[in-house]
């Protein structure tokens, strides 16, 4: 082997081993045939082209059919979950906010009817907590009110800075508050004082959050692309299984994101005095560090890893009959969703019969479904149940026409399976609308 060939083979290491085994010799032949006899080293252009081609084979999603878009969605989903995890970890140890909230309330005259709220300064990382005390218009000077508040803080053990322009700083045990006294109209007309406490994010969250988004996005992209490459080379049944696991997972993360935005948009008025309800865990993403969500996220790539390949695609496959494929896919989807809904109903009934609990006791929280079903069962059932309740009746829009046109295109067994699946898709969600089914649904949700 010449030195040039050895160099080319070294560059081919950029490609996945499986690909190198199948195509390595052929590519080296092509490279060597195109080389002038006096060449001793690979030209830089060839080297870069091989490295780029190899990295694409390793890390890029398959070509076409919106695969890149799916990989991007995966990147966004994992970045989002990672950010949620980072926020959870950074704010988890932040017990000080409760004491600061109470401390800022104690700055005010005890007898005054007061209202207040606590809020996160969404774009501030590190630094003091800002407390704004707004008094309803009154005869007393603001300087006096500020001096009184400062005196109460000192009595409470705070080290207070001088008052400058109705503003002073308080320090205690590493905690800092900047208090500003003002006068004006209050959001609550019955109160005489309104206090607003605004917290910064913990300082480490800025680098941790950026790292989480970058690394999470990268991990999501790589995992998504890898899963899609595997997806592409699986048998149709395997592809269906991967799609049925992956799509609800992404939907779940998207739902959590939308839900978080909705909660935070709607929370401005409702948060008063309900500090602990603060929805900053980014919804479901806050659970990133917990095993169930990690298991759900990992399910799809694991499935892709386990399912066998369809074999070499050397010969062009005969054209697939879309109606046949559609009937199989829709049947499987209906049955998977139906199985999950049925599992919920059956587990509820069995539990009720076995323990003799009545309907009130069942939804009281004493019979948590998470404790009844093992995690590997609970995760997929939960995923399919939530998706199925919404998607399965919608899927009837596809399966009913397929029942009509598919009668002559597939065997009687496949057709009857679809019929049964379609009926289950109408009946099972309808059962959840009955009083009994409603209890079961509530029990599952709780």
């Amino acid at each position: 082997m010449s030195r040039l060939e050895r160099d080319y083979r070294r560059l081919l290491l950029a490609y996945p081993r499986e690909y190198r085994r199948a195509r390595g010799d052929e590519i080296v032949t092509t490279l060597m045939e195109g080389t002038p006899p006096d060449r001793v080293r690979p030209p830089a252009g060839d080297a870069w082209d091989l490295v780029r081609g190899g990295l694409r084979k390793r890390f890029a999603p398959p070509h076409g059919r919106g695969y890149a878009a799916v990989a991007l969605v995966c990147a966004a989903a994992v970045a989002y979950v990672a950010l949620g995890g980072a926020i959870r970890l950074a704010t988890g140890s932040e017990a000080s906010n409760d004491t600061l909230f109470l401390a800022s309330a104690s700055l005010l005259p005890p007898e005054a009817p007061l209202a207040g709220d606590a809020d996160r300064m969404w774009t501030t990382f590190g630094g003091p907590t800002e407390v704004d005390l707004t008094f309803a218009p009154q005869p007393r000077a603001l300087d006096d009110l500020a001096a009184e508040a400062r005196a109460r803080a000192v009595a409470d053990g705070w080290v207070a800075g001088p008052i400058e322009a109705h503003r002073f700083t308080l320090d205690r045990a590493g905690q800092t508050m900047v208090v500003t006294i003002a006068e004006g109209a209050l959001p609550e007309p019955w109160a005489t004082v309104y206090f607003k406490t605004r917290y910064p994010w913990p300082a480490p969250l800025l680098p941790a959050g950026i790292a989480a988004v970058v690394l999470g996005g990268l991990a999501g992209w790589l995992t998504g692309a890898w899963t899609l490459r595997r997806f592409r080379s699986r048998k149709p049944a395997g592809q269906l299984l991967i799609a049925l696991t992956g799509a609800p997972t992404l939907l779940l993360v998207a739902a959590a994101a939308v839900g978080t935005v909705a909660v935070n948009r709607g929370s401005t008025g409702a948060m008063r005095f309900t500090f602990t309800g603060f929805a900053e865990g980014l919804g479901l993403a806050g659970l990133a560090a917990t095993p169930p969500l990690a298991a759900v996220l990992a399910a799809t790539p694991l499935l892709a890893a386990v399912l066998p390949a369809a074999g070499p695609v050397a010969a062009p496959r005969p054209r697939t009959d879309l109606v046949r494929v559609g009937i199989r896919a829709v049947t499987a989807a209906h049955l998977a969703f139906g199985a999950a809904i049925a599992t919920v109903l059956v587990t509820y009934t069995v539990r009720m019969l076995a323990t003799g609990a009545d309907r009130v006791a069942m939804v009281s929280g004493a019979h948590d479904p998470k404790e009844l079903l093992p995690l590997p069962v609970y995760g997929p059932v939960a995923l399919l149940y939530y998706t199925g309740v919404v998607l399965s009746p919608l899927l009837l829009l596809v399966s009913v026409p397929l029942l009509g046109i598919g009668r002559t295109r597939v065997g009687p067994v496949a057709w009857r399976m679809l019929l049964a699946a379609a009926i289950s898709a109408a009946v099972l969600p309808a059962l959840l609308l009955t009083p009994y089914g409603g209890d079961a649904a509530r029990w599952w949700l709780d």
Binding site: G34, D49, H63, A315
Partner: protein, 110 residues
């Protein structure tokens, strides 16, 4: 269809070729404008094979080296033919517009 893809399919339209044969044919057909490198060529060959436009025709060992020949499938021929029709229609349309522009610019002589 991107230009390198077009030239690869064109190169294989007449006869099956191996990797270096495709590189040379594409360079000839494009008057040296397109020089395919191996990484790019094999990425395109893989994609076109996956799309069913090409298949492996045969393998040969020459001087102990493996050569794999690729052949256009019927689908590949149809895709190339559709692309040719599209390009021809575009060219005809552009030529017609240019002719009208020429007439407008110089105007009728009489």
């Amino acid at each position: 269809m991107q230009e390198p893809t077009f030239f690869i399919l064109t190169a294989l339209a007449e006869q099956p070729l191996h990797g270096y044969g495709v590189i040379r044919a594409v360079a000839d057909l494009s008057n040296g404008r397109i020089t395919l490198r191996a990484g790019t060529l094999y990425a395109a060959l893989d994609r076109l094979t996956e799309e069913g436009l090409l298949v492996v025709d045969r393998e040969e060992a020459v001087d102990g080296r493996l050569r794999r020949y690729y052949r256009l499938t019927d689908d590949g021929g149809a895709a190339l033919s559709a692309e040719v029709d599209r390009m021809r229609a575009n060219a005809t349309m552009a030529a017609a517009r240019l002719r009208r522009r020429g007439k407008l610019a110089f105007g009728p002589t009489s």
